[in-house]
Structure formats: C-alpha cells, structure tokens
Amino acid sequence: MNPIRVWLAALVGAALLGLTVLASLSLGIVSMTPVETLGALFTPSSASQRTAAVVWTIRLPRIIVAALVGAALATVGAVMQAILRNPLAEPGITGVSAGAAVGAVAGITLGVAGSHQWGIPIAAFVGAATVALILLGVLHSRKDLGPATIILVGVSISALAGALINILIANAPDDALVRSALFWLAGDLDLRGWDHVLIALVPVTIGLAYLFTRIRALDALALGEQIAATSGVNVGRERTVLLLVAALVTGAAVAVSGIISFVGLVVPHALRLIVGASHARLLPLSALGGALFLVAADTVARAAFGAVVVQTGVVAALVGAPVFLAMILRRQRA
C-alpha cells in the first residue's frame, strides 16, 4: 500500500473532522459564524456568556461524546471483523449492545435510573458488562468455539435481550417512559454533557489504546485460527481478551449514546477500500473515520431537520445503509 495514500487519507480525515467539529459547534438553534465559535472556544471570557455557554456546555461535550462513540464503534467493528473473520461482524454482534439496551430500558422504565443523571449510562453499562461476563464464561468453559459459534452465541443473547426489552416496554408504567426508552434505543445524543464524556472517556481511550497494540495478532487472526496459532498468537487467550475489551469499549460507548448501528460496519469497510486491510493502518484510521462519521451524523441530526426530531442513530443508519449497500455492490462488481 502506497504510504502517501495512507498519510493523505489520515490528513484529509483529520482536516474533515476539524471542519465538521467547527460546523457542529456553529450550527443549531443558536447559529454562530465560525469566527464567533472559535472565539467562544478559545477565549470564552471575551465571548458573550450565551455563546460561550452554547459552545462549552451544550455543543462541545455532545460532539466529544459523538466522536468517542464513533471512534469506539468503528474500531471495535474492525476488530470484530478480524477476530470472527466475518465482514458482517459489528460491535454489537456478541450481544453486548443488546445487553446495554436491556440495562438502559430497565433503568428507564422501572424508574430507577431517571433520578440520577448517571443512572441510565450506568444501567446500560451494567447490562453490557453482564453480557461481556456471560461471553467470558462461555469462552472460558469452551475454548474450542469457532467464530461461527461465537456469532451464534451473540445471536442467542441478542434474542433473549430483545424479549426482555419487549417485556419491559410493554409493562412500562407510563407512555413518557416508553418514549424515552425508544429514544435511547434509536441512539440519541440529545442532552449529552460532560458527565457523559467522563463516563465514556476512560474506558474507550484505554480500550482503544489496548486494541492498537494488538495489530499483529489481528492481522494473523484474520487469516484463521490455525495460521494465527502457528504465527505466534496464543489464539484462545488473545481472542478472549480481545472480545472482552471490545465488549467493554462497546458497552462504555453505547451506555452514553444508545444503540447506534452501521458505524462499526460502514467505516471499516470504506476504509479498507482506501487504505487496505492491514490493521496497523485500519485501526487508527477507523477511529478517526468513526469519529468523523458520527460527529457529522449528529450535526445533521441536530441542525438539518429544524423542528422535526431525528436521532443521531437514525441519521447514521439513514446514511450508512445506502452507502453500505452501494459499497457492497461495487465491490462485488470489482
């Protein structure tokens, strides 16, 4: 792979992310010029109190949450596709997102989470961590499970979670709670503040940093378990740790964003076409691309539809689904 092309992709991605963040800070019900936005961002004391508050209290934490979640989901998507040797693998394939959803919906509909601002993210994270522990138990007790079986384990967990969510929603005490739960399930970044940044920042950063150190193992695992095992990878341990870290990163991300699909699928696929499949390039650029994708989707969700309510996850799927379809068909023809 031509290194100039890779650096160019990284530079263009970083520049686009910068521009998208600037646009996202400037656009919305309170609209600002880029100069006003930059002034409020870097010298808030000299900007008007209202502008500074919009930038620092409302928009910036939301953008950081979107960037963290996008980076996490896209990177984990690339990791899952390598470990499970399945191009359709995405962060939620092990059932961890469904676990987070059970936690969040339970927290919302049973009213236990609403009383505290950290309540829903923590309930969601507990759900995700529970699934991660179940997964760990399964992988620990049956070290011979292949990728296809792991995917089927995820399918079972997701089905079970779906059933629990339906019970919780059907028995919610009032409609407002149902609406709130449905919003969470659609991936909504409304009202995300610095608390949410704090919740996601540490696990996502540590998790991604760990995943970036495993690029050689991921390259080998993508060739199959037997080749990985004879290429210096302790397959059982490596796969268990990678799946666990991936599950926890996904759990931390989904806990603050709700269910956001397609980022983990579209971004790594698109990037493979540009920079190839070597994980040394794919993982960092997936993080960058995922952040860019979700910040852009969130900006559109927040600013493009006026009074019409559209969640970030909905925009991600609205854009992601046709792009993904076009990409698959194009690749098939190639």
């Binding site: 378990e225 004879t230 302790n234 070597s278």
Partner: protein
Amino acid sequence: MSTLSDLVLSEFGAVRGGRALGDPLDLRVAPGTVLGVVGPNGVGKSSLLGALAQAGVPSFGRAALGGRDLGSLRARERARLVSLLTQDLRAPDELRVGELVQIGAWASRRDDPDAAARTALEQAGIPELVDRRYGALSGGQRQLTQIARVLAQNTPVVVLDEPTSALDLYHQRAVEQTMRRLGNDGKIVIAALHDLTLALNTCTQILLLERGGGARTGRPHDALRPEHVYAAYGVRTSIHTTPLGRSVLTTDDV
C-alpha cells in the same frame, strides 16, 4: 543417524470429536526429510498436521523438536520452529500479497520483514504479485501466496496441507521443487498429499494412514507398493517409470 533437531512423535495423534483419530504414532523425522502424509479422505491427515503444528487441533501424546515438547512451548517460541500452510486460504480481500507474506516474517521475528517477504515471493515464483489485492487473486495464486508466507517464516519444520491442490502443472512443479529444496536445506517438510505420484517423486519418506487407524511408514516406493495402496484406498494401482526416471502411479481399473 539421529540429531538434536529431530522431530520425534511419541504415542502421538490428533483428536476429533473427543475421539483419537487413528492409532498412536511413534515416528522420528530427521532434518532434510520430506515426509508425505497420504491416505484416503477422512482418515485425519489435516487433523494430524494441525495437531503436529499445535494449531489448535486437540492431540494426545508428545511431539518434540530437538527434545523440546512443542505443546508446552509458548506460541511465540513455537512460531520460530514450525510454520503451517492450511487448506483454508481465506484472507481479507483488501490485504496486499506482500502484507500477507510479511505476517510469516513477523511471526518468526525476522529482522527485515519486507525483504524477507520479497525473497519468499521470489522463491514461490510470484514476485510480480507483491502489490496485488488478495481478493483479486485466483485460487492458485492464493495458495502460492500462502506458501510464500510459510517460506517467509523460515522455520526448521514446515507443515504443508495439500500444497498443490489448487495449482496448475507449472506451479505444481515449482512447489515440488520448493519442497525438495527445503529438504536439501536441512528443513523437515511434512506435507499432506492426495497426489501419490507427487508423493513418490518428491518425498523421502511416506506416512500412509489407513482407514482402520493403522499407519505405515517407509521410503516412498516401499510404503506406496500396490498392495499397500490397495489396503489403504481399495484401489488397484501400478507404478511406472518414465524414460527420465520419474515414477508415475496409475490406477489399474478402467
């Protein structure tokens, strides 16, 4: 003569579905040996190779190289000793051939993975593919790419599962020559083969696995005598010799 780098199998075998595949094997393989593992479908050739390479296939008994039990070594240490070509040739479509081959060089911690990969691609006869996408390759080119990955790993034991199954005549001959060259270089080559003519002409030793679980070892012309082949495969065969001295195994039934 045995040396410190012999591969020694003691009461060794692969396990599938919780059951031992075949009788326990006792075998000593000296450096320079090209061992052909042959036998009918389902007899456990690939499983034996996977078990021997410690590639995650369950096994019983002991496989040791130079006295070191391969099963108790760390994966990173073992990757310097044993490399494996599997029949599963799948890899990400967007991976470049050179990058895939480098995985072999990384596995054994070669000093210059890029140079090692290029040399291996030349040895495999496909240097021109270095920048090609894996997804754009034919089945045969994929097999050669994976063979180059194994060559780049440069281990004393090279395990090849059906290395010529997807190859045309020209590349079959090239792989045959590569296997002989590896043997001449003092490596131990263990290859599962369906093509008994290839086995006769390339291998220095044969392990013929039989359906009942038994195994026969010996020099190619002894192990693959028509009565032994009949016992293993249920097919009557003859061995002919071409004017250039090459052996050809044909079936007698029309």
